[in-house]
């Protein structure tokens, strides 16, 4: 801010009648003075600030140089193939002085797609692209109407066909062999898609005038929010099979999906409830006066306003659920992090887990960072709308 103001000053202050080089010289001096002024205002404004700045700058420089050296200068990017698998001697010779990115070069397909048949990897890859396109379409506000559920349904069908196969000349792949990034995206996307309508119903139920319905909804939300997701996942993997009659089984992945959906539903319900509470009573009364029934009133008057208010916290909850899907590795499902951990446990590559975790972290970060930036922009846009 200060920087820009100083630039503006230097532009207006430069005298017009000066010869060109002198003018340029003066401008440069002005700009340098602006920079110095900015630094004095923002970095060295007191003795304490100067000390803090110098210590921090030193630490950043030291850590930055060490990191660049480890991650780029001393790193090994690929290793030759040995008689039995890759020969990781070059990586071991580093003794931690540099990163062994060769594990990523070698194993990235496993981390991204798990044990899916190698020559069919284009199918999960295409699914990842479909998911990313779906997120893009969802972020596009012009589609926020009846087309959006349709787009989601289409995407779900396309992903199902691609992953399972068995039709249109695609070979059948059972879902025990699915893994990697696609599992993370599936658990998060379908979990949220089913949790969102559930959350709206529960939030409405919690504000209902019928005591029994209200109590059921409170019980559901508080029970789920009171316990960790891990215990729900354990429940889904160990106890749920006991709950079902003989001969009826639910696939492990689907069980994890159910646990994540119920978990997300409770948290989203609380966010939606916040939006419902923010709607003034007059809106309900006006709808009643117009003679609307309960569901018409909710659908046309209340929800459109309530949901708009809570979009930013909704996106934050989405980010949280997206990160929390990584917990399924505890019950033995190989999502992105699980497949990464598995890859690093292979004897040839033991000791290079850090590199794999960093790779997985970059993938998670790019999804979450995009969502969080989108949420911030949306918040600004919506606030603009309110003040206009």
């Amino acid at each position: 801010m200060v920087d820009q103001a100083d630039h503006a000053d230097s532009r207006t202050a430069s005298p017009a009648r000066m010869t060109r080089p002198a003018c340029l010289m003066q401008r440069l001096l002005m700009r340098a003075a602006g920079l110095v002024g900015w630094m004095r205002a923002n970095l060295f404004y007191s003795w304490v600030a100067t000390a803090v700045t110098l210590v921090l700058a030193y630490a950043v420089a030291r850590i930055g140089i060490a990191l660049i050296d480890w991650a780029a200068l001393s790193a090994v990017w690929s290793v030759p193939a040995g008689p039995s698998g890759p020969d990781t001697a070059a990586c071991r010779a580093l003794e931690g002085a540099g990163a062994c990115w060769a594990i990523i070069t070698e194993k990235h397909r496993f981390v991204l797609f798990g044990t899916y048949p190698y020559e069919e990897h284009w199918r999960p890859a295409l699914c990842v692209l479909i998911f990313v396109a779906l997120y893009g379409a969802t972020a596009w506000r012009r589609l926020w109407n009846r087309t959006l559920p349709l787009v989601w349904a289409l995407a779900a069908v396309a992903v199902g066909v691609l992953m399972w196969g068995g039709v249109a000349g695609l070979s059948y792949v059972p879902n025990e062999r699915w893994g990697g990034l696609v599992i993370t995206l599936m658990l998060a996307t379908f979990g949220l898609a089913f949790a969102f309508p559930l959350a709206i119903l529960v939030a409405l139920g919690r504000r209902s005038s019928l005591p029994a319905i209200r109590m059921l909804c409170v019980l559901y939300v508080e029970l789920i929010r009171g316990v960790p997701l891990i215990s729900l996942l354990f429940m889904a993997s160990v106890v749920l099979p006991l709950f079902l009659p003989d001969g009826m089984t639910i696939d492990k992945l689907l069980r994890a999906q159910i646990a994540i959906t119920l978990f997300a539903g409770a948290y989203l319900a609380e966010v939606v409830r916040g939006g419902l509470q923010a709607i003034p009573k007059g809106q309900y009364e006006a709808a009643d006066v117009l003679g609307f029934g309960y569901w018409t009133k909710i659908r046309l008057i209340i929800l459109p306003q309530a949901l708009r208010i809570v979009i930013p916290p909704l996106v934050n909850t989405f980010i949280g659920i997206f990160k929390d899907t990584s917990l399924v590795l505890v019950i033995g499902i190989f999502d992105l992090l699980g497949a990464g951990k598995m890859a690093a446990m292979e004897p040839a590559w033991q000791g290079f887990a850090i590199e794999v975790f960093i790779f997985c972290g970059l993938v998670y970060f790019s999804f979450c960072f995009a969502m969080s930036r989108y949420s911030q922009r949306l918040e600004q846009d919506l606030r603009l709308h309110e003040t206009r």
């Binding site: 700045t53 059921l216 009171g226 891990i230 354990f234 160990v238 106890v239 929390d324 917990l327 975790f357």
Partner: protein, 402 residues
């Protein structure tokens, strides 16, 4: 109003009461009753179905049910326990060890995350560009990575540390190696208990003293100097107790014996990684809450306080902080709950908290339903206690409207 009969007030009320009892779909009260009976009936039927299924399944698999197994010998080796424990102890005791381990991580994590989060949140508001940028980057990076990934990364990093013989020694007496963090400890004598008691009494006395002074000032407007008394109580009483009981204050320094350290407090790599991960992760969220809380206090409040001639310290403690706390406390409460629930990720790095121990119990006894029920009961109890305490605190700082 649309009633055709021009009855008295009483008869109209009777009419409405009659309409409320009418059995018809157009009667909202009746409709509501039907929906509620339907919902409760469906849920009850579903639950009954699950219970019947479970009962049959348990019988056909010959799994015992009930909590009788709690009295059996567990035979579980536990690395870290706050209370004495041997593998020959019962399941009840091993689960208690797990609960204490969970609490040990959660309490330490909440305290440390609050301190670190507040510091980072204030650093983000700093005028120093470098400081505020760095804290912003920290918050953004930490919030956008799964906690589990951070825990695994930290644990792997800690395991990559040198063995005890080449342990890192950043400060005298503090050693960091692949066996964990070793700190010097105070040798505990019974006399220290009395000193601690005296300190608590002194603190309580100082608090009462301050309350009395404030009440008197409220009554007659004259400020009273209390700090010499308060200081005397807080420092004098423990010092007196120490002299009277003659406690010796020797510190136990860890030293290398053979392949490992002896003496001092040893934080295992699992505990240290879990605590560090939880603190670093939660601090990023608390930092954002603290920042929003301080920003929520309008500039005018600072300026008005300055115009009244209040000193900066008084402005912060009497004007800004009470208003910021109102915004800060509810979301921070839910962060505390999250931290406690997230401590269950211990199972992924092998720290034996309640989830990890209950999970092993399930594997040994096969009694999954009881095991999960115990986990849920423990977390629900902890969550409820934290919410109750924080709600009480929130009511204390909440705006009292007249």
């Amino acid at each position: 109003m649309s009633d055709a009969k021009p009855g008295t007030h009483g008869s109209r009320a009777r009419d409405e009461a009659a309409r409320g009892r009418r059995i018809s779909w157009s009667n909202p009260a009746f409709r509501g009753l039907v929906w509620q009976v339907l919902a409760v009936g469906l849920v009850a039927a579903g639950l009954a179905w699950l219970v019947v299924n479970t009962h049959e399944n348990l019988e056909s698999r010959r799994i015992a049910s009930g909590f009788g197994f709690l009295g059996n010998e567990a035979g579980l080796p536990i690395g870290e326990h706050l209370i004495s424990y041997a593998p020959t102890d019962t399941y009840l005791r091993v689960l208690l060890v797990g609960v204490l381990n969970t609490l040990r991580v959660a309490v330490a994590g909440i305290v440390l995350a609050t301190v670190l989060g507040t510091l980072i949140g204030l650093a983000r508001l700093s005028r120093n560009w470098l400081l505020s940028r760095l804290s912003a980057v920290y918050v953004e990076v930490v919030r956008d990575l799964p906690l589990l990934l951070q825990l695994l990364l930290l644990y792997t990093l800690l395991q990559g540390l040198p063995p005890p013989r080449q342990a890192l020694n950043p400060i005298a007496g503090v050693y960091l190696s692949n066996r964990g963090l070793i700190l010097p400890a105070l040798e505990w004598h019974a006399a220290h208990g009395w000193v601690l008691l005296a300190l608590l009494l002194g603190a309580a006395g100082a608090f009462t003293c301050g309350r009395w002074a404030t009440a008197r000032q409220m009554a007659d407007g004259r400020p009273r100097i209390v700090w010499p008394f308060a200081l005397g109580l807080v420092l004098g009483l423990p010092a007196l107790a120490a002299i009277l009981t003659g406690a010796s204050w020797s510190i136990e320094w860890p030293e290398l014996k053979g392949f490992n350290f002896r003496g001092g407090v040893n934080l295992s790599p699992e505990y240290f990684a879990l605590l560090l991960g939880l603190v670093l992760y939660t601090a990023a969220f608390i930092a954002e809450i603290v920042r929003a809380g301080v920003l929520s206090v309008r500039r005018g409040q600072w300026e008005a306080a300055q115009a009244l001639g209040l000193r900066p310290r008084v402005i912060l403690s009497r004007v800004v902080l009470p208003q910021a706390l109102r915004v800060i406390i509810p979301p921070v409460t839910s962060q505390y709950l999250n931290l406690t629930k997230n401590s269950s990720l211990a199972v992924a790095i092998g720290f034996q908290d309640i989830v990890s121990i209950a999970n092993t119990t399930i594997n040994q006894t096969g009694q999954a339903v009881e095991g999960i029920a115990i986990i849920m009961a423990v977390y629900l109890t902890i969550s409820l206690s934290i919410s109750l305490f924080m709600n009480w605190y929130n009511r204390r700082v909440a705006l009292v409207e007249r």
